[in-house]
C-alpha cells in the first residue's frame, strides 16, 4: 500500500461536536467536498488499485459523501452498503459506511467498519481519528488511545487527537499528562484558528485545575472557552460550580442561568440522538 498523507484539513473539519467532547463527522460542506475530491485523486493514482478488486462506479462514493454531509444518513447507507458488499476491498467504502453509523451515534457498527477500513489500508490515517472517537465513546479506552497515538505518530500536530489523549489521561487520573495534552492542543488550535477544539480543550483544562484546587485558573480557562464558543453550554455550568466554590453565589447564579439558556438553545436545534436518555 502507498503511504497516504493525512489530509489534515479534512480531518480537522471532520471533528464535530459530540456533547462537548467531540466526535468525528464532517461539519463543513466545502471541506468535505474538497477532501472527497482529494481522496478520489489519491485513489486514481494508487497503483494498488488492482489489489482492491473491481472499482466501484466513480460517482458513488462522492455522492455518498454529499448525502452524509446533508445528514441523510439512511440514504447514504443505502448507497454505500452495496458498494461495500460488491467491492469489499475498497477501504473508503467501509469508511464511509462507518461514518453513516458514527454520525447516528451507533459507534459499535461504526468501529467495526473503521477497523475493517484500516485493515484494508493501514495507511488510511484519516480513519484513525474517527475510529479513535468511536472506541472512546464505547469505553474502549486502550484501543482509543492506540488509534490517537498512531495518528499522532504520522501527524504530531493533529490537535483533536492531542485533545483526545488529554481526555483519556484525565479518565486515567493522570492529571499532569492531561494538562500537558490540553495545553498542546490549545497551542495547535491557536495556530490553525480552530476555535471549536480550543474551546473544548480550555474547558477540559479547567477540569484539571478544579481537581488540583486552582479555582482561579479554572475560571480563567472557562471564561476564555466561553469567549471562543459562547453557544456551548458546558463551560457555563462548570463556571457556575467554580464560582460557587469561590464564594461568588451571584456569579454562580448568573452562570447557571446562561447554562440553562444555552441548553435550551441547543435543544431547539435538532441534532441526532447522542444515545443518552436525557435527550
Amino acid at each position: 500500500m502507498e503511504h497516504r498523507q493525512v489530509n489534515r484539513r479534512w480531518v480537522v473539519a471532520s471533528v464535530a461536536s459530540f456533547a462537548f467532547v467531540g466526535t468525528s463527522v464532517p461539519d463543513t460542506n466545502a471541506q468535505i467536498r474538497q477532501a472527497t475530491e482529494q481522496d478520489g485523486a489519491a485513489d486514481s493514482k494508487d497503483e494498488s488499485l488492482k489489489a482492491r478488486g473491481p472499482m466501484p462506479p466513480p460517482w458513488v462514493l462522492p455522492q455518498c459523501y454529499k448525502l452524509i454531509q446533508q445528514q441523510l444518513y439512511e440514504k447514504a447507507r443505502q448507497l454505500v452498503a452495496p458498494v461495500v458488499a460488491n467491492h469489499p476491498g475498497w477501504a473508503k467504502a467501509h469508511f464511509y459506511l462507518g461514518l453513516t453509523y458514527s454520525k447516528q451515534h451507533q459507534h459499535e457498527r461504526a468501529r467495526e467498519l473503521f477497523m475493517r477500513a484500516l485493515k484494508l489500508d493501514p495507511s488510511y490515517h484519516t480513519v484513525r481519528i474517527h475510529c479513535g472517537w468511536s472506541s472512546y465513546l464505547l469505553g474502549r479506552v486502550g484501543e482509543s488511545r492506540q488509534m490517537f497515538e498512531s495518528l499522532l505518530a504520522v501527524d504530531p500536530n493533529y490537535a483533536d487527537a492531542v485533545f483526545a489523549l488529554g481526555l483519556l489521561d484525565f479518565d486515567d487520573d493522570n492529571l499532569p499528562s492531561a494538562r500537558q495534552h490540553y495545553l498542546r492542543a490549545i497551542e495547535l488550535c491557536q495556530g490553525s484558528k480552530d476555535t471549536r477544539t480550543e474551546a473544548k480543550a480550555r474547558a477540559r483544562l479547567a477540569d484539571v485545575h478544579i481537581r488540583t484546587g486552582d479555582l482561579q485558573a479554572a475560571k480563567q480557562e472557562l471564561d476564555r472557552s466561553i469567549q471562543l464558543k459562547p453557544d456551548n453550554a458546558e463551560p457555563y455550568f462548570k463556571l457556575s460550580r467554580v464560582l460557587q466554590r469561590m464564594g461568588d453565589a451571584e456569579g454562580a447564579s448568573r452562570a447557571r442561568s446562561k447554562h440553562e439558556a444555552a441548553v435550551r438553545a441547543a435543544q431547539a436545534t435538532p441534532v441526532p440522538s447522542r444515545g443518552r436518555r436525557s435527550e
Partner: protein
C-alpha cells in the same frame, strides 16, 4: 497529581481531600491479588421463583423497572429474611403472582412464608421500605406500587401467630400513583420513622403511550419518560399513634415542577444532625432536600452540584450507593445511569458541595456500555476499604437485535477498591460473566459469617443469590438499636477507628427500590491494629457515643442510651 497544592488557591476541600487520601490503603495493597469470591447459590437457597414485570420483550415503560428486594429480620430470630416486591402484567396490573416473603432457615436455605404470615398482595409492586413505624419491636413493610401503595404492619405480639396486616388506609399512606422507591427515616427528629415516597410518572395502562415515538441511536423504542407527565413525591410525617399525615407541601418537598423519581436515600449529608433526602430523578435534575431542622426542607440539588454530572448533563439516576470513598468523613454519593453515559461518583466535599469525580476513581469510561440499576458500596473482601457492586441490564429489548452500543442482558459489575481507584473484577465469580436483566439488589450477611452477600432481582427472570465466599478476614459487624421506632438507628453513622485509620458506614435504607440489611460491615484488613479498635456512633440527631475496646469477628449490638454493648457470634469465626 495534586502537585499544585503548594500555594494554590487553597480550597479547604482539596486540603481535606489530601488529608483523607492519606488514610487510604497504599499502592502495595493495590498490587495484592484479589481474594474476592462469590458463589451463585440461588438453587441451593431454594428461592426458586421468577420476578414478574410485564412481559418480555417489554413494550412499555411500566414493564421495565422490575421489582425490589429487602433484607430484613421480620421474625427477630437473628438472621436475614428476604422480601420481594413482585410485579404484574399490563393486561391485569391488579392481579399478578404476588409479592413474596422468604424466611431464612439458618442453614443456607429459605422458605416461602408469604401465605403463612398473611401476605396476599398481588398488585404491581415496585419497591419496598422497611421500618418499625409503630415502634413495637418488629419491622413493617411499605410497598410502593403502580397504583395504591401498601403498608403491611408486622404483628408480632399477642396470642396469634406472627402475621402482616394491611393498615394502609388506617395509617393514611395510600398514595395511589406510580411509586418506585421509598425510605423510612426520622425526618423531624422526634424519634419515630417518617416516610418519603418517590413517584415516577403518569401511565395509563388502558391507553399506554404509542410505541416508537422515541428513537434511540436510530432505532424506534418505547416512549418515555420524556413527554409523559411526571408525578410528585410524597412525604408522610409519623404522628406516633399509628397514623401518618401528608406534609409534602408544608415540608417544602413539593417543588414547582415534579420530576421522574426512581431512587432515594435519606441520611445526614451535611453533618448538621438532621436527615436530608437525596432523590435520583430519571433524565432530569436530581433533588437534594436539605433538612433545615424546623420541619422544612430546602431543595439545593443544582446549587450543591449533585443534580447533574460534571458537565451539567442530567442523568438517568437509578441506583444510589453511599460511602466515604475519599475518607474525608462526609458521605459520598454514587449513582448508576443509562448506557452511553457514565455512572457518577459525587464526592461530598464539605456537606453542601458535591463534585463529580467519577474519572478520579476509575469508574467513568468503563460504565459507558452498561445500563445500571441497584448498587452498593461494601467491603466485600473485608480488606478495609469499600468495593462496589452494580446490577445491570438494558430496558430496550431492541438492544438484543440491533446494534445499540450495548446489550439487552448484561453482567453485573464488581469493582474492587485498589488503592485510590476501583478496578473491575471479572474473576470473583461466574456471575460476572453471566448475562442478566439485572435490576434491584440488596446487601447483607445472609449466612451470618460476617461478610456481605448479594441478592439481585432480574427483569422477568429468577432472583439471584450470590454468596460471598471470600476467605475469612477479621471483621466487625455493627447493629444498632435507636430510640423509639427507629429501632435500627436508620440515618446513623458508624465509625470504626483502628489507630489512625477510620472507616465509616451509614445505616440507611438501600439502593434502587430496595433495602439493605440494617448493619455496618467492616473489614479490618491486614495492616490495621485489630487489638486497638474503637467505635463511634453518630445517631441521627448528631449525638455521639463511643465504645471501646471492640472485639473482632463478632456482631456488636449497640443500644442507644446504653454505654455497654453486647456481642453475638459469627459463623466461621470461632463463634
Amino acid at each position: 497529581m495534586l502537585r499544585r497544592l503548594d500555594g494554590c488557591a487553597c480550597s479547604p476541600f482539596v486540603v481535606a481531600l489530601v488529608c483523607a487520601i492519606s488514610t487510604i490503603p497504599s499502592r502495595a495493597v493495590a498490587d495484592e491479588l484479589s481474594t474476592m469470591r462469590f458463589t451463585d447459590v440461588t438453587k441451593a437457597s431454594k428461592i426458586d421463583f421468577s420476578m414478574t414485570s410485564g412481559r418480555t420483550p417489554s413494550k412499555h415503560l411500566l414493564e421495565i423497572n422490575g421489582g425490589g428486594v429487602a433484607m430484613l429480620d421480620y421474625d427477630n430470630d437473628g438472621d436475614l429474611d428476604l422480601f420481594f416486591a413482585n410485579g404484574a402484567t399490563l393486561d391485569d396490573p391488579e392481579r399478578g403472582p404476588g409479592v413474596r416473603l422468604y424466611a431464612n432457615n439458618g442453614d443456607g436455605t429459605f422458605k416461602d412464608v408469604t401465605r403463612n404470615v398473611g401476605i396476599d398482595l398481588r398488585r404491581w409492586a415496585m419497591g419496598v421500605a422497611v421500618g418499625d413505624y409503630d415502634g413495637d419491636g418488629c419491622d413493617d413493610l411499605y410497598i410502593t406500587c403502580y397504583g395504591r401503595n401498601v403498608l403491611l404492619r408486622n404483628v408480632c405480639s399477642g396470642v396469634s401467630a406472627r402475621r402482616f396486616v394491611d393498615v394502609t388506609d388506617k395509617a393514611g399512606v395510600a398514595d395511589d400513583r406510580w411509586g418506585t422507591s421509598a425510605a423510612f427515616a426520622d425526618l423531624d427528629g422526634d424519634g419515630d420513622l417518617d416516610l418519603y415516597v418517590v413517584n415516577y410518572l403518569e401511565f395509563n395502562v388502558d391507553h399506554p403511550p404509542v410505541f416508537g415515538l422515541r428513537n434511540f441511536v436510530g432505532v424506534p423504542v418505547m416512549t418515555g419518560p420524556a413527554g409523559l407527565p411526571p408525578q410528585g413525591d410524597v412525604v408522610y410525617e409519623n404522628l406516633g399513634d399509628g397514623t401518618f399525615v401528608d406534609i409534602t407541601v408544608r415540608s417544602g418537598c413539593a417543588p414547582a415542577q415534579a420530576k421522574y423519581g426512581l431512587g432515594v436515600v435519606v441520611l445526614d449529608l451535611d453533618g448538621d444532625g438532621t436527615q436530608d433526602v437525596f432523590v435520583g430523578n430519571d433524565s432530569v435534575e436530581n433533588f437534594l432536600f436539605r433538612n433545615q431542622g424546623d420541619g422544612t426542607f430546602e431543595e439545593i440539588g443544582v446549587v450543591s452540584g449533585i443534580a447533574s454530572n460534571a458537565d451539567g448533563g442530567t442523568q438517568a439516576t437509578m441506583g444510589i450507593a453511599i460511602g466515604d470513598v475519599d475518607g474525608n468523613g462526609h458521605p459520598d454519593v454514587f449513582t448508576t445511569n443509562f448506557s452511553g453515559d457514565t455512572n457518577t461518583m459525587h464526592l461530598n466535599l464539605d456537606g453542601l458541595m458535591f463534585d463529580d469525580r467519577t474519572s478520579q476513581f476509575g469508574l467513568a469510561m468503563v460504565s459507558r456500555s452498561f445500563l445500571s440499576w441497584g448498587t452498593g458500596l461494601f467491603d466485600f473482601d473485608s480488606d478495609g476499604d469499600e468495593d462496589l457492586f452494580i446490577a445491570s441490564g438494558h430496558i430496550y429489548p431492541e438492544a438484543a437485535t440491533h446494534k445499540m452500543d450495548t446489550e439487552y442482558t448484561q453482567p453485573p459489575l464488581l469493582f474492587e477498591r485498589k488503592g485510590r481507584r476501583f478496578g473491575r473484577n471479572l474473576e470473583a465469580g461466574d456471575m460476572l460473566r453471566g448475562r442478566y436483566g439485572g435490576r434491584s439488589c440488596a446487601f447483607g450477611d445472609i449466612d451470618n459469617d460476617g461478610d456481605v452477600d448479594i441478592v439481585m432481582t432480574t427483569l422477568n427472570g429468577p432472583v439471584q443469590v450470590f454468596r460471598n465466599d471470600s476467605p475469612h478476614r477479621d471483621v466487625v459487624v455493627v447493629e444498632l438499636t435507636g430510640k423509639g421506632g427507629n429501632r435500627h438507628g436508620l440515618g446513623s453513622k458508624v465509625e470504626l477507628v483502628a489507630g489512625k485509620t477510620v472507616q465509616r458506614r451509614w445505616i440507611h435504607g438501600g439502593s434502587y427500590q430496595s433495602v439493605d440489611a440494617p448493619a455496618a460491615y467492616f473489614g479490618i484488613g491486614g495492616s490495621a491494629r485489630k487489638d486497638d479498635l474503637s467505635l463511634r456512633v453518630t445517631w441521627p440527631d448528631a449525638r455521639t457515643d463511643d465504645y471501646k475496646p471492640i472485639p473482632t469477628n463478632r456482631r456488636i449490638l449497640i443500644t442507644r442510651g446504653s454505654l455497654e454493648f453486647h456481642t453475638a457470634p459469627l459463623r466461621g469465626h470461632g463463634g
